[in-house]
Symmetry: C2
Subunit: 710 residues, 2 copies
């Protein structure tokens, strides 16, 4: 790419960004759009334009974002969002500190070596064969064996040390954040009083699952056991129906015609409510047999204090490890009910199977695409959908379809990938939404680094690679190292596009705005449907984190080869911090809270990216025939040891709730009835008055009271 | 080895065995030897000749061994011993079941193939170049590519399946044994009420370590915390002095002249007792500062019930994992006090360092021996010990010494190896004796399999190997497989020697008997010293288990190649079971109880031996050019999966105490004061009356009582 075209593309992106920002300033002040630009504030019951937003200063949101504290973020958007900002600011810090030393040293060192100018003819050191001003500022301009390479070796050390330092600080900070939230004395968090029990064995004859669970836990915790909630087929189905119910917010019984799908689900609410009512009657006659049969092998067990719940969640209950397995209870809203019944070894088998599937997907992701494009030829399409035949007959459309179908298949497949990975992660048998999202995000990270970054790098210079292969490079690392410098401008443009256009769209919310207005005009009839139309969802970490990670990996790998990318990295994470701060405070509504459990995953992946960078630099300095390249070997080991030490020191604190955290006293005594109710699907819990009707599915508080009185 | 010489060596061993057994029958009835042959019964306060031993039947002990139940073993020798018998009977079962099918099928199949006879000249298929009758009965007699090899392939499957079946049954049985012992309602086990806390951070200013620990645990367990015992320099030193004290059983103050060593230690008891007495006085004046300074970063914390202790031992206490680390408390008698203060990361570093050292030792164990023999030349010896010069001058002795010194160095080194491995294991920072023994036993197993078995096999047919290497075998496995058949008779003899001579010596206890009588006659003055002279020690698993494992590995590897070895394996483990049953019931006194924690280690190593067998057979069938050899590949994966499943299902139950086990109620309420006393070195705990004097080192029961009353 020529330097001019690079500047042009950069300029275009910048112009788009400015336009989108002006649009945001204009649109966000119109009262009709308030629910698109301030939904989080509205849902929190706050005045959307509170304070300075109404003043005429169009950049008031920037000041607001900068003046907001971490505590504000925790309060408005939860610990997970605060941890995401720790991630953004940590990476920002790494790149800023790196740039501080690398730009003033490496750029002059590169610019004053004239290796490229002197060897114009040597195509293997120029940017895709054409000379550009950017190359003067990169490591490609350094002659082989030059002693100037010491500066680049030192730079690798500097970037690594800065990363270790920032990561260590961040891990400590996040651990403190998590502890603070968990020991909160303000709020009663139902999940802190409960554990999730799975793999419950069959009860002895004459006992229901429920009685069995109760007696088991009452024997171990005679004083602190409160009650249990056995997961039933009904509660699962009800929970699903309930979700629809909650989404539509009031009973849309009058809308079965218009929204067929919702109408069907509405029927199911009716059906199960009727079923429950019927079974209540039967229960009195048949002694709980109906619900007992539908009881599954999982239960939520409640305790009277947080310490016991924290202790119980970490301890082995049964001598046989595959029975009575316990974990901390997820929040009620993020339990994946249908996964709870999956058995211990089945979960393990599923996990390995899915790891295998993902590895296959990553390595051969072109194959399903090719397969899809093969079956999506026009001929097949016509057979499957005969009604499109007349359209396809038109020559113009035919040509377009024939040439674009494979690309469309690719785009569709790539767009479906996050959903597919999420589906796979859920199939592992993971019991909570947040955990499934972490698993999917990890898979997506490896996919994007391997396919987008390495794939583009290698494919982008395929011919050069063939040349390089002829010279017999030692390994894939050498091939990668050879190909990297040639793609520097491509990735510079990519990062710039990401932050200008990506964050511009993010801030302006043009697409949600359009969708909202269309829906409002043509679809929504009730207030609840309008609310559904503007409901913003959460930050969607499953795709956001891996996409940031890709930028991080790219910036790391080029940070020494073409230090200019650090400026782009700083802008990406700085702008990201600013714009997402606004979005977190005003727009997105978190759909779960995992108290920063995302952090260890983020940490590991940053370290993985750093290690890739160190490997690539090892390869590239090797290509430059620098004899001191081996000095990088200790660095790679330091990365491994650093990761190991961090894992040893911090990870268990994220896996479990530490007891010194759980033992802090609450301001008021928790209402245990409330805690228990939080886990019952909504339509069940409205039957508050007639508790005794659900003896089969709920614990008998009376029994407990009788025992604790004894 | 010729067949005749094999028979001769077998006959000799058998004769030695018979002689030793007759000696046992005669010696064990002499009243003067009763303390050598029945020490366990004496120490348990039972009549040594109770029941039938006094009748004239010289084989009464055999009937007694057979009629004893597992419960007898548990009662007289503990769960660990019972688990060792499960190991012996499981291996016996594996070999017996294997022999049942393999002997009637494989022997005829081998004997009727005349490959060896027909190819007398082909030296690479005969036993070290000489033909022997034994080879007729081995796989070596089968021609290449013969379809008879199917029988041998099937045999590998049969042996493996039998092993899986027996191991699964045994693991379940041992788990039940462990659970039963831990849920015992008869006995109060102090270690079930305590946890071991390490890596305690520095207390805040103005607080002692003791107060800090107390307040930390009281906050988490307000109702079930009993008190704590901070480990002090003094208690450590006292414990050591105490051990000497216990060993000599009464104060041998009159013996400082004769037993210089013991005398010195006696002084230390005096010294520390004096020190404590002094500090008690100081305490009243100086407010605990003296003991506080000597307090270390470890403590034993006591709870009022077993469930809380079990819960606490498994749970994360501090958000930072490297602080306040907890484990189940070891028995008081097996705590390695000096290891308790070693820090978290220091333990990890030590562990890896020692793994590295052991790997080096295993791989290059000849190097230190060569080094030792180099410095133990006569010249050096003369310099170091000038007084031996006149002896060495004698030509005859000089010749002998010169030729045997290297061998002596080897023998000394091999004899020192278990002690060296035990020293290494203790240096890892392991807090309990039993754990250190497991670690040492594991190291010894790998050493003996790699050096003795594989070493002998490869070295024993070095020239053949060179030939084999010329033919370019694929791997070490192929080389090993080629060498195995030629060493069949060597290992048959080895196993026979082990069971005839080894178990003969074990049963007859000739050496302990001689040592006892010598000591009694020339050294012992007091009753206590006589007791020390006959005190038998425990079964010493650290060397016994690895040595059994070596026999097991040998038998496994030859079971299909030369099925006759199965007979020898059955005799080894059958005879071992019988003789050790006698020794466990009457002789050995267990020095600790780990409730079968040895089992997972034994299990893993049996599986490792099985996998080696499968690999060797894969190599050997490959050498026989059998095309269906690849059918063994699934078997190797099945072994891995079997090991993984067992680990998942059972291991955690051996690592921790399962709560359903800990929650069983005791017959009587435990005396917590007794539990606490069990962990104080004996000379301290005699100060029962004046508890208040040790305020610095012990918890204040008064404070606890005040709090629990509130």
């Amino acid at each position: 790419m020529e330097f001019e075209s690079f500047l042009v593309s950069l300029g275009t992106s910048a112009v788009i960004f400015v336009v989108l920002m002006l649009l945001f300033t204009w649109l966000s002040r119109r009262p009709g759009n308030v629910s698109v630009y301030y939904p989080n504030r509205i849902l929190k019951g706050m005045d959307p334009w509170e304070g300075s937003s109404l003043t005429r200063n169009p950049f008031a949101w920037i000041r607001e974002a900068f003046t907001s504290t971490e505590q504000d973020v925790v309060k408005l958007s939860g610990v997970d969002t605060a941890v995401y900002f720790v991630f953004l600011s940590t990476v920002l810090g790494i790149f800023a500190l790196s740039a501080l030393l690398l730009l003033p040293t490496l750029l002059p060192v590169s610019a004053t070596d004239n290796s490229l100018k002197n060897s114009r003819s040597a195509t293997d050191t120029t940017s895709n064969g054409t000379f550009s001003q950017l190359d003067n500022l990169s490591m490609a301009n350094i002659s082989k064996k030059s002693s100037r390479l010491w500066a680049f070796l030192g730079a690798v050390y500097w970037v690594s040390l800065v990363t270790y330092f920032m990561l260590w600080k961040a891990y400590k900070h996040v651990a403190a954040l998590r502890a603070e939230a968990l020991m909160s004395s303000e709020e009663v968090l139902p999940e802190q009083y409960a554990i999730l029990v799975r793999d419950i064995p069959s009860p002895p004859k004459g006992e229901t699952q429920k009685e069995f669970v109760d007696s088991y836990f009452r024997e171990i915790y005679p004083e602190t056991f409160y009650r249990s909630l056995v997961v039933t087929e009904n509660s699962k189905k009800l929970a699903r129906a309930e979700a629809v119910f909650a989404a539509t917010s009031n009973r849309p019984t009058n809308k079965t015609g218009l929204l067929g799908l919702v109408g069907e689900r509405v029927d199911s609410i009716d059906y199960y409510t009727k079923l429950i009512n019927e079974s209540v009657t039967k229960l009195e006659a048949e002694q709980r047999t109906v619900l007992a049969e539908k009881q599954q092998t999982a239960a939520v067990v409640f305790f009277t204090d947080r310490v016991t719940a924290a202790l119980a969640a970490q301890s082995l209950h049964c001598q046989m490890v595959d029975k009575w397995t316990v974990t901390e209870a997820p929040e009620p809203r993020q339990i994946i009910w249908e996964n709870l019944k999956i058995k211990f070894f089945s979960r393990i088998v599923r996990q390995y199977l899915i790891y295998f599937l993902v590895a296959i997907t990553i390595l051969f992701y072109m194959i399903p695409i090719a397969f899809v494009s093969a079956i999506t030829t026009l001929g097949n399409l016509q057979k499957a959908l005969p009604f499109i035949k007349p359209i396809v007959e038109i020559a113009f459309i035919r040509t377009i379809l024939q040439s674009y179908l494979p690309q469309i298949a690719l785009i569709v497949f790539l767009a479906m990938l996050p959903k597919f990975l999420m589906f796979l992660s859920k199939s592992e048998g993971i019991p909570s939404q947040s955990h499934a999202i972490r698993a999917a995000s990890g898979k997506y990270f490896y996919f994007s680094v391997l396919n987008v970054f390495i794939g583009v790098t290698l494919a982008g210079s395929l011919f050069d690679n063939l040349k390089a292969l002829e010279k017999k490079p030692n390994s894939i690392i050498t091939v990668l190292a050879t190909s990297l410098p040639k793609n520097a401008t491509f990735f510079l443009t990519y990062v710039a596009l990401k932050f200008f256009v990506g964050y511009g769209l993010e801030l302006s919310r043009i697409i949600p705005l359009i969708i909202f207005h269309l829906k409002k005009k043509y679809l929504c009839k009730t207030e609840a449907e309008v609310k559904e139309a503007w409901y913003p969802g959460d930050l969607s970490y499953a795709t956001r984190v891996p996409s940031d990670m890709l930028i991080l990996t790219i910036t790391f790998c080029y940070s020494v080869i073409a230090p200019l990318i650090l400026v782009f990295g700083v802008i990406y994470f700085g702008l990201g911090w600013l714009i997402l701060r606004n979005q977190a405070l005003k727009v997105y509504v978190p759909s779960y809270e995992s108290y920063g459990r995302m952090w260890p995953h983020i940490h590991t992946r940053i370290l993985a990216a750093l290690s890739l960078f160190q490997l690539v630099m090892f390869g590239y300095l090797g290509i430059k025939l620098f004899v001191w390249t081996t000095l990088l070997v200790p660095l790679i080991f330091i990365s491994l040891i650093f990761g190991y030490v961090c894992r040893q020191k911090f990870y268990k604190g994220f896996e479990h709730t530490a007891l010194e955290v759980a033992c802090r006293e609450l301001k008021q005594r928790p209402d245990l009835e409330e805690v228990f109710r939080a886990y019952i699907p909504h339509s069940l819990s409205t039957h508050k008055g007639d508790d005794h009707q659900f003896k089969g599915a709920m614990s008998r508080y009376q029994d407990y009271a009788a025992i604790s009185a004894a």
